[in-house]
Structures are given as C-alpha cells and as structure tokens.
C-alpha cells in the first residue's frame, strides 16, 4: 500500500543524525517491546508479512511521529485484537478479562536460542521455471495496491537489469493477507539512478531492489 512506510526518495526529514556510542535500547520499555514482539512471533500466530502490513497501515502522521518500537507495539496490539486473541477492553485494562485461546505453541525460555538460530527460511520449491535470468532487461510494473506489496513506489515503472536470481521465495503480497505463500521467483534488479531520479541523478549511482517475478515485465 502507498503508506508512510514507503519512504525512498522523500525529502524534508532532515539529517540522519547518527548517535555516538548509541545504546542498544534507549529505555526499559524498548527492551520489553522487543522481547514481547519476538515472543509473540515465536507463537507463529500469523506471518511476519502481516506484521509489516499492519505497521504500514498506521495513519501516516502516526507512523512518522512514533519511534520504531512504538510502531511495533501499537501494531502488535491492533493485530492481537483484530485476530481475537485479546479484546479492546483488555488492552485498556492491561489485564486478562477472560481466559486465553489455546495457541499452537508458546515460546519457552529454553527454546529461545535454538529458535533464533534456526530462523525461518523463505525459499520454497519453485512452482515453474524462472522467467528471467541474470542480465535480462526488465521493466517494473506500475501497481498501486491497497494491500501489502514490497515494490516501492520509486521503483515502479522503471527500466532495470536482473543481476541475481535467488530462487523462489514466499510472496509477501499474498502471505501478508492470509492468501498463502504462493512462492515466486525473486531477483535482484539493478537500476541506473537516472532511470529512477532523472537526468540530474548522480551518474556514479546504481540502486537495486529485490523484486518478485510478478513485479516484472520483460523490457
């Protein structure tokens, strides 16, 4: 969706302002926000793509004014309510008003190290031969779905070259919405800056995205 998360090429946010000797967390609540978010992730109640969609669905003014862990925790609360795991009343009360639903699994402390080390791979058996190979010229599609997509606005309708073929991966555009993993070939597509930003662009700059096959047409 064309939400506030899609930031590439926007202007006016000021300097990056890296923090010298930045701490890992800036407040105790950030530590807990990370831990709670990952712990719920460990229960595998919905895919990470659905988390991304609910975060980017926050109203732009809210998305841009919240710190990142606040975006996470706000989205997590919304998702738990939407999926019926907690009620709005419980979120306000900060306590359970009815027993929890049975979960397929609850992440335990002694499983944390092995679960993190394993991760969850996103590559899948390919449903069909790859349509493109390294070196192929492509044109990215012009799409504006109200649903989740990982094709950023700045890279839509642009000429590029396939640089790498990564195999078939879980397709976020369907997976985020409970429509299945629908694996698609994934490519690194490289663009010359002038094809994205115009003739005044830095001639020494190239940009790449990782693009799923449905985002691409032959050029």
């Amino acid at each position: 969706m064309n939400g506030a998360q899609d930031l590439g090429g926007m202007m006016g946010f000021g300097p990056v302002a890296p923090e010298h000797e930045e701490p890992i967390f800036h407040a105790e609540w950030e530590r807990r926000a990370l831990g709670v978010t990952l712990a719920i992730g460990g229960a595998r109640l919905w895919p990470g793509d659905a988390n991304r969609f609910i975060r980017e669905s926050l109203p732009p003014a809210e998305y841009l004014s919240k710190s990142y862990y606040d975006i996470w925790i706000t989205a997590l609360a919304k998702m738990l309510e939407r999926k019926g795991f907690v009620s709005a009343e419980e979120l306000v009360a900060g306590q359970a008003l009815s027993p929890g639903k049975p979960l397929p699994k609850v992440l335990r402390a002694d499983e944390v190290a092995s679960t993190l080390a394993l991760g969850s791979r996103y590559d899948r058996p390919a449903p069909a031969p790859a349509r493109f190979a390294a070196g192929d010229k492509v044109l990215t599609k012009v799409i504006n779905p109200a649903t989740h997509t990982r094709l950023p606005r700045y890279a839509r309708g642009k000429f590029g070259v396939v640089e790498a073929v990564h195999g078939a991966h879980v397709f976020p555009d369907t997976n985020a919405h409970g429509l299945g993993e629908s694996p698609q070939w994934l490519y690194t597509v490289r663009f010359e800056a002038k094809h994205i930003w115009g003739e005044d662009a830095d001639p020494s700059l190239t940009i790449s995205i990782d693009a799923f096959e449905p985002y691409l047409d032959p050029a």
Binding site: D6, V16, R31, V86, A113, H166, D210
Partner: protein
Amino acid sequence: MSDDDHDHDHSEMSEVAARVRALETLLTEKGYIDPAAVDALIETYESKIGPRNGARVVARAWSDLDFLDRLRRDATAAIAELGFSGRQGEHMVAVENGPDRHNLVVCTLCSCYPWPVLGLPPVWYKSPAYRSQAVIAPRDVLKQFGVELPETTQIRVWDSTAEIRYLVIPERPKGTEGWSEERLAELVSRDSMIGAGLARLPEATT
C-alpha cells in the same frame, strides 16, 4: 542533553512505557507469552548477538581467501561456519567495498537488517531521514557519517525489499598486513558493515 530535555523524554516515554507494560501483563495472563522467554530474547540481543559477530566475518574474509570465495558463493553457509545464523539472516549476501565501488544498505520500506551478524538496527537505520535519503542522495548521507568518497567511486545502494539480507565487507585498511583476525576485527565498525562508514585505520586502535 540538558535536564529539560531529559524531563521531556521521560514524560513522553511514560505513556508508551505504560502501554508496553499493560500489553506484556495481559499477554502473560492470557498464557500467550512466557516472561522468562521475553527476558531471554532481550538478553540475547543485548549481550550475545551484535556487530562483533559481523566483525569476525569481515576479519575472516580479509584473512582467508578460501573463506572469501565461499562467502561470495553462499554467504549464508559461510557465515554459519562462524556460528552465526537464523532470524533475519536466513538468506545472506555479502557485498564487497573496494577502491572503485562503495556499497550502502538500506530498507526503505521498513527496517530489514542482518540481525545474526549486526544485532538490532540502530535508531538512525530505521529513521525516515535515512530510509528516504539513502536511495536518492547516498553521498549526502555518507557525508553525514563523515565519509567523503571520490566522485569516480561507483556507489551501489541495496534496498532490502525482500528477505535477502546484506552484509557489507568494508575495504581492508592499509598497514594491517600480518594482523591476526582478532586484531583486524577491532577495526570493523558496525557502520562499516552497513556501508555508512569505513573500517577504522590501524592507528585508531593502537
């Protein structure tokens, strides 16, 4: 930071701090999370998984041509040789900086970052300022990190739009011939592995 700033931060944070605490309590009471697991997750990223991991990968790549070759062919497997794998690093690609080419990594759409080798992303990496500028004005971004590259250096920005995660291998500083991997790793900053910085010079660590 002045005392006023501190007070301001504190009062602003207390609302969200209360929300986080309420959510954690609720989810614990519901039986959805194990508080001990939450503690273990925090501890992992506070003390076990961080940019020292990535620095070891870079130091090995600088020292061992066979390892570098494996890193180029299958970075996920090569990095796993050092014991680093898993969440947010399932599909790794290593990209090498050199005299003629500089790589910079961003996630314009969220905050994708190679956790097993770099730990949690810093605030600036997740900020609208970085995510917006990196793809259109990377040289301006680099200047904000104190890095000025020759105009002839080709710049490549990698926008992490899928589940591939990128690790930049910074250029090995001159004057480090014969150094051990442990010593070399001291030169490898987190920012240099994102492409927002360069490796430290040898004199910086002596």
